[in-house]
């Protein structure tokens, strides 16, 4: 490619700091060398010198050694050849280390007495004090129960409905209706949590909510949706289904479009109706996608985010709307009990990880493939 055609300023300085680059390469080299040969380099060298001393160095060993040296040379060459790609990776790696790995180290504050203004992660060590306080607090039973209720209800309802929608979409014979429903049902996915909760508010508010206006016109008592703990989970789940059903159906639609048309044709000639085709052909063929999604759903169960719950929360429905993540947010960011809050967060993360690993094992047993 002639250079006159591409007058371009590269944003990655090619040979900006050579020495820095070389050190970086050396690190990568060391890491990948370990991956390349199972024996560690120092060990081989020792072995080689030992052999040399005794004088029993046979041909096979020599060839092996030569190959190792060759391999290392090639590796070094390969790394140097790819140097620009390492610079591509640099911004992402720096960001990853700063904003993901340093906070992982920062979790030590869960075991510390955090003092205001002390340097990051360096406080007096107080062991499991925060955990003890959390396990002995009056809230823990309720919080765990609420978290479990919300996440189980959420998984139960958000999992099967997209499948039904995808089957309906796939089997519709009217292109207009299909297109219309697809367009309309993806749209809510774009809305923010704040907007979704505002829309819930528009429909369910005490005096101006559409539902309550209807109830009043029909001469019935109004329902205080935000004032009763019993309504928290329904509001949460119904709005989640409304928001994400169309979007989640896309995955199943993809699986359905892979179903062999000839199979359907054959079944139809044999006299199977549409319902039978759905039940006996389409559903079994997308079953693997269905189970994968279910397992993923269960795996992410306890990681219910704080966003929507915080917005749905009022003083009156706190008994049902306080979950682990909102509790972490309130005690930590609002209440500034950093150590305690980090401990509660760590507890949730550990539960999540255990769930994920066990679900992954389960799926390995059931379907022979792991998800992670």
């Amino acid at each position: 490619m002639p250079s006159s055609l591409c007058p371009i300023v590269s944003f990655y300085p090619k040979c900006a700091s050579h020495s820095f680059l070389r050190t970086l390469l050396r690190i990568v080299e060391l890491i990948s060398e370990k991956a390349c040969d199972k024996m560690s380099p120092s060990n081989t060298e020792q072995k080689a010198s030992f052999n040399r001393m005794i004088g029993k160095r046979n041909k096979r060993n020599q060839i092996q050694d030569d190959m190792k040296i060759m391999r290392r040379k090639i590796l070094r060459k390969e790394i140097w050849r790819h140097r620009e790609l390492y610079i591509f990776l640099l911004p992402a790696l720096v960001a990853l280390i700063i904003f993901s790995y340093i906070p992982m180290y920062g979790i030590v504050i869960a075991f510390q007495d955090v003092k205001f203004g002390s340097p990051y992660g360096q406080n007096e060590f107080i062991g499991l004090y925060h955990f003890k306080r959390f396990f002995e607090s009056a809230w823990i039973g309720r919080i765990l129960k609420n978290t479990a209720t919300v996440s189980i209800a959420h998984s139960i309802f958000t999992w099967p409905l997209p499948i039904v929608l995808a089957l309906l979409l796939h089997n519709s014979n009217s292109k207009v209706i299909k297109k219309l429903t697809q367009t309309f049902s993806y749209l809510p996915h774009l809305l923010s949590t704040v907007i979704v909760v505002s829309i819930i508010n528009v429909f369910c508010a005490g005096d101006y909510g559409l539902i309550n206006i209807f109830l009043r016109n029909a001469g019935m008592d109004r329902i205080s949706f935000f004032g009763q703990p019993a309504w928290v989970v329904p509001l949460y789940v119904i709005s989640a289904v409304w928001q994400h059903m169309g979007y989640e159906a896309i995955v199943y639609l993809g699986a359905l479009s892979a179903v062999d048309e000839e199979l359907m044709e054959a079944a139809r000639i044999d006299g199977a109706g549409k319902l039978k085709c759905i039940w006996y052909i389409q559903l079994p063929l997308i079953m693997s996608t269905v189970t994968t999604m279910l397992i993923l759903n269960i795996g992410g169960m306890f990681s219910v985010g704080a966003d929507k719950m915080i917005l749905l929360q009022t003083d009156l429905n706190l008994a049902a709307s306080e979950i682990i993540s909102t509790y972490v947010y309130k005690t930590g960011v609002v209440g500034m009990q950093y150590g305690f809050s980090a401990a509660v967060g760590l507890f949730q993360n550990v539960i999540n990880l255990i769930m994920l690993i066990s679900v992954n094992k389960l799926s390995k047993k059931l379907s022979g493939s792991s998800i992670i």
Binding site: I8, S10, Y12, V28, E29, A35, L75, E78, H82, E84, L85, F88, L89, A92, A95, I98, F99, S100, I102, M104, Y105, G106, I107, I109, L168, L169, N171, S172, S174, I177, K178, T181, Y186, P188, H189, L190, S192, T193, I195, I199, V202, Y208, L210, I213, F214, M245, I250, G273, K274, L275, L311, S325, V328, G332, V333, Y338, S341, A342, L346, Q348
Partner: protein, 301 residues
Amino acid sequence: MKNIHKKNVRRKKGERVVDGTINLLLLLVGIVSIYPIWYVLIASVSSPVAISTGKVLFWPVGFNLDGYTNLIKNKDIWIGYRNTILYTAAGTAFDMFVQIPAAYALSRDRLPGRKWITTLFIITMYVSGGVIPKYLLVSSLGLINSPLSLILPSCISVFNIIVARSFFQGSIPESLFDAARIDGCGYTRFFLQVVLKLSPALLAIIALYCIQGHWNTYLVAEMYLYDKEYFTLQQIIKQITANLDTSLTEFMDADEMLQIMQEKQLLKYSVIVVSVIPMVILYPFIQKFFVRGVMIGAVKG
């Protein structure tokens, strides 16, 4: 012969019922999906009295634009709007600058150490320090109450990187680079001039995810920003749509209160509409990318 014909007719009738039911159900889903948004739209241009008596259902009643005139007078909303646009633009640009080159590098099979680095990324999908350590880190970096707190800490999305990586793996063969290298082209130039030009769909998908994420950020902004000058649109909407402050209304007579309530109600509808509009305008363009994005993402990393 006749019998078979009869049977066929009957089956056709049955089929027609099934088709009809499917279409009916689909129509129902479509209506249920769009109705809440439609209702907010028509309520924002209706008279508050008509709304509170339940007359507004499918079409605006007592058309007026009071909600929007109030909205224009409200300075907070425009500050929020401006901030959100700035954060979204800067955040998306920075996200892409960090993620796309990294994803390309990770998609090259021959890159030594590729597996290790990929693992380093994937670990963070399953293990994290949690909200509080990250918050303390951001605060000790001095980013609290700075717009950078919404741009820097969230710049890595491992999911996006994996999506982009599988795309590059599938569509940019290494032989293409080999050909370019013979002509004296380095990785950087190849990436900027060939790879980026070959993957507009991928760039659109990743940009879409980034824009959506930045535009909709709420809780993180609530955590890191406390100056009203820096508030995002979502924070302003939250303040407006939260219920009326009762302490204010105690000192007013009933009529005045009712009017303020109604004004506030209309403002609520119109602010929802105004904040949804950019997404709805973008929507027809991005709908097909939505589907493609899910499909690329469905390929296991």
